[in-house]
Amino acid sequence: MQPEAAVLLVGAAGSLVFAVVFGPARQPGILLLRGGVGLVAMALIAVAPDLDTALLVVLALAVLQGAIELNRGLAVRLRAPVFAISLVALALVLDRASGPAVLHRFAAVGIAAGLAAIVGLLPFMHEFDPAEAVSASPIGWMAFAGPIVAAVLVLDSRRLFTPDTDAVFAAILIGLGLLNALWGSVSAWVTEDGTAAWRYAFMSDWGLVLCGFGLTVADGQSAALLMLLSIVVCRLPLYLMSRPALREKTTTDRPVNLVVAAVLSGSAPFVGFAARVLLFRGATELFWPLGLVLAVSMLLWLPGSLRLGRTLGQPRGRQLVGIAIVLAVNTALGLYPLPVLSLAGT
Amino acid sequence: MSQLLGALATQTLALIVYPGLVAMLLFGGVAEIAWVRIATGGWTWPERPRRRPTPVVATVAICGMLAAVQLAAPNSPMPPEDRSVVIAAVALAFTTWTALALGGEFFAEPGLLLLAQASWLLAVLGPAVQPESLRPQVLGNMLVPGLLAAKVACGALYVLCLPALLGMWPMASSSDRRAGLRLNATRILCWFPYCGLFTTLFVSPPSDDASGWLRFFGITALVAAAMLGAGLLLQRRGAAFAHMVYSRVLPPVAAVVLLVVIVTSFVMR
């Protein structure tokens, strides 16, 4: 098992427990069951001996998730994940066969596009229904299973690539990353629906993840891992907390909403800031103007985050405790990420 | 410790007696009496200022003293290296606005007054830009041909601004109008520092002997006389003329002086 995936798996398990204990789910048992199945699948992905096996598990997971709710029709729900898996499978065929270099470059395109399609990023966004349960919606891919799939896919496929292919792969990831970071952060700000705004916010975080993976230096990988962790242990729990208020379309402007906005925007001392510092390091090592683009795009997080913070409503009691835990975890990860990064071996 | 006490005694002497408060009162008193006579056109003895100083007068006195001790007056107990043209300029600048702060008094043309003061500051500090020195006597002693144009231009600007700063234009404040023939205590305190600063900055420093005294106070008195003349001219020609001078003539002159200062600094670099 890759250590990165192991760390993310632990984070996802923690998030699931958090959602069951502190979340507003009306049927925590069902959530636990679905999440548990997802966790098992994710563990299988993490321990899979090769990418093909991992892909098969992802395929099974996609079908299982697609079968949870049929508001949008099974075919529609399967469309993106199966398309993504087909892309990755095709890329693996192209990469393994001997032939001209362009085939390997196409393989890089396939893996990168497949990754974006599995997670549901631009330009392969999944169809989204705000009313769907989290476990059945594309958020499940973005925030729960996606991080592990991405870690396994990127790190495993990198081992197969030649240096030329790896450079192409990195460039595509950075391009897609910037696209998603900009589009996601701006859309999280301007879109009308609150739930959709959360989805775009996830997308913008993923933009930084892709940029981190695209930076072919250790700092980039560490940044990507921290961003993935922040998605799993920060944004996802907070999204779950905001679901009731989102349904009721209530917004509040209390200090706790602002604190949450600070966490979501990647302000210091939370984990997002540490990840950004690492991204800057990686960008500086490779090509410093990229740091400028990243810096500008990072500022776009703020308006959307302020908006998302307000969608949290007025948490009280158990929910407030839950938010305090999220904040504490994020602060600890933001100030002292070394243990996690060491565990992940980055 | 004894050095410190000695310095304290010297500075106190400078502040209170010469070239500080006493010198200011003597010089300013004569100049102010002359001004009141000229302005009113008669020879009746003007009223004395109130006995008890107001906070405005107290503040002007402090600032005036601080400015006066910076002058290159002959036999000044203030050590030459301890003087600074910046302190003199800023201290005098305070005197202009004290009445607004503490007297609740409105000025008729505060914008123009501010413009005049800004131009005056240019005239005072402009000559210091190139030499990079702030000792007044050093600036006065600068007779390098290259700096002459800047010095003459700044001197002219100084003289142009001074009537406004001494309140000798016909746009007097409300209290001035009320005061009638009463001597203006704040102006009494300002005559010497303003006129003496001109002598300090634009004339080479005097020696510490009788000729030096004569030269310094002679030139300072000449400046004061020029101000009296200028003030009289402004009073005779009226507020419109004064307004025209300070709103239409002063800004371009100040701009030219600034240009001269910049060009001089560039050429002498």
Partner: protein, 549 residues
């Protein structure tokens, strides 16, 4: 003291914040007591750490995970800025009543700010400073969510820029630790980034930014904390830039540009001050004017300029606390604060400004023109102060958060502290200047006088008699007759009007009818998020095409 004691000025406020929050959540309102205690303890600890040894102390606690170690360092610069941050914060935390939430956040901001000052490297400063900024935004919002507060984006941009600069130093120079950064890695690009970070962090901008805006809030509890904990940090970065550049900025033009910017900041603030409609508005411009002056002197690149800037900043810190405690009513306290703010002789502000202006003239190369500008700004501030003395006080604020006696005390202290200028400079500012500028050893003077290149300012000998004479004169004089009333501005605000017109024109701009369909954001969003296979395939083809190039 063991080096681990360096943690105290940071840890004490942070622990106190935790205690306040825990007890507050349990229903015990002890915020004021604990936060004040922690703040004063931080002051005491920083004094106890520095004064006995007066030399640099370091604490290295290992890596944190983003290429930076948890290195703390207390040197003369850290000591000076530590006091600038902690003392005013302690004053307002002691005297102003606030809820436990506000007290916890304010104490947190203090701890973070102290961490930024004690941080041994750029990245750690960025993280701590960013945390302080977050805490300040939160405390302002907790106090009043509808009132004006600093633009969070601007603050975040500043600290992100600093983080980026730190990482550039780590990558290019191998380290971002202040004392170890190779001079060659401080290129003009990196220095520009650091300068931008500093300017944004302290809101040093030639328009109305947060250091002025926060004073227009109905309540001024959080404003005082914001100014105390955040405002000095930008200057701190600029001082550290000298440290990393071996006592100078990478380009001479850099000095000029920053100095001019400082002058512009002060000028614009002074223009606003002279047009203020209430005394509170005037007080709101005091800190920006002081900050502009400090930047102007600091950026000159001379030891005297740096030293004068540090004295000006210390005065700013004191006055910020005084303004925060001042009630909105006509009183001798408000008059004293006005006098201290405009820098009447022989106050500390007077001395520091004179030195700052003198430093510009002595720096050479036309910088004297900046000093000339600085003098003009000072005059403008005199006019503003003179007007403000008779303006209506303001909208009024809760009595519980004011302390006129202490405000008066602080203002009078800065007024009578002029004679101690040389002492203050020699013991507080010069060591800090010497820490970052090797040439600062040439700073002459003694405990009684300040020597510049061309003159000597005999602070004790000149200002003590002046102070005594002045006191006697004021005691002998009657009271001033001031009636609060609206006063027209001396200079009409031309620029804001033009700016407003420009803003209106921009706001009125519309996309031409024929282009609206292709620039419709909602339709774009719908097209991208619709999950349309055609788009997916098109994207795939585009990517495949791109990699064949």
């Amino acid at each position: 003291m063991p080096s681990s004691a360096l943690l105290l000025p940071i840890a004490l406020p942070l622990v106190a914040a935790g205690v306040i929050a825990a007890l507050g959540a349990a229903g015990l309102e002890v915020g004021r007591l604990v936060s004040a205690g922690a703040a004063w303890a931080a002051v005491a600890s920083i004094l106890a750490l520095w004064l006995p040894v007066r030399s640099t102390q370091e604490l290295i606690l290992g890596q944190m995970g983003f290429g930076s170690g948890f290195d703390l360092r207390l040197d003369a610069v850290g000591f000076a800025f530590g006091l600038m941050v902690s003392v005013p914060a302690a004053v307002v935390l002691t005297l102003q009543k606030r809820s436990w939430q506000e007290a916890a956040l304010a104490t947190l901001a203090l701890g973070a700010s102290m961490a930024a000052v004690e941080a041994g490297g750029v990245v750690l400063t960025a993280i701590a400073g960013g945390a302080a900024a977050t805490a300040v935004v939160l405390v302002l919002d907790t106090e009043d969510p509808r009132a004006r507060r600093p633009s969070w984006a601007m603050l975040l941009a500043g600290w992100l820029a600093l983080a980026w600069a730190g990482t550039i130093l780590q990558v290019r120079g191998g380290t971002a630790v202040y004392s170890a950064v190779p001079v060659s890695s401080i290129t003009w690009q990196v220095a520009s980034l650091l300068a931008v970070a500093a300017l944004l962090a302290s809101g040093l901008l030639p328009w109305r930014s947060w250091p002025s805006q926060v004073w227009s809030r109905p309540s001024l509890r959080a404003a005082g904390i914001a100014l105390a904990t955040l405002y000095p940090l930008g200057f701190y970065i600029l001082v550290r830039l000298y440290d990393m550049g071996d006592g100078r900025y990478p380009l001479p033009a850099f000095d000029g540009v920053l100095s001019v910017l400082g002058l512009a900041v002060a000028l614009v603030a002074a223009l606003r001050a002279q047009g203020a409609t209430t005394r509170r508005e005037f007080f709101g411009e005091v800190v920006p004017v002081f900050g502009g002056y400090a930047l102007m002197s600091l950026a000159l690149g001379t030891p005297l300029g740096l030293s004068a800037a540090l004295v000006a900043l210390a005065t700013t810190a004191a006055l910020a606390a005084a303004v925060a405690l001042l009630p909105d009513r006509a009183s001798i306290a408000s008059l004293a604060v006005v006098a201290a703010a405009v820098g009447i002789p022989p106050s500390l502000a007077f001395g520091s400004r004179v030195l700052g202006i003198e430093a510009t003239f002595e720096a050479g190369d036309f910088l004297g023109l900046i000093g000339l500008g600085g003098t003009l700004v000072w005059v403008l501030m005199m006019v503003a102060g003179a007007r403000a003395a008779g303006l209506p006080a303001g909208r009024g604020r809760p009595v519980a958060e004011t302390s006129p006696a202490v405000a008066l005390g602080i203002a009078v202290a800065t007024l009578v502290a002029g004679p101690a200028l040389a002492l203050f400079q020699a013991s507080f500012a010069n060591p800090a200047a010497a820490e970052v500028m090797p040439s600062a050893g040439s700073l002459g003077g003694s405990l009684q006088s300040v020597a510049t290149v061309s003159t000597v300012l005999p602070a004790v000998a000149l200002f003590v008699p002046l102070l005594i004479i002045g006191s006697a004169a004021y005691l002998a004089s009657g009271s001033s007759s001031q009636r609060a009333e609206a006063r027209p501005p001396v200079l009409a605000p031309v620029a804001p009007r033009a700016l407003a017109g420009w803003r209106e024109a921009v706001a009125a701009a519309r996309v031409p009818e024929q282009y609206r369909t292709i620039l419709n954001l909602r339709e774009l969003e719908a097209a991208a998020s619709g999950g349309r296979p055609v788009l997916w395939l098109a994207a795939l083809v585009a990517l495949a095409f791109a990699v064949t190039r």
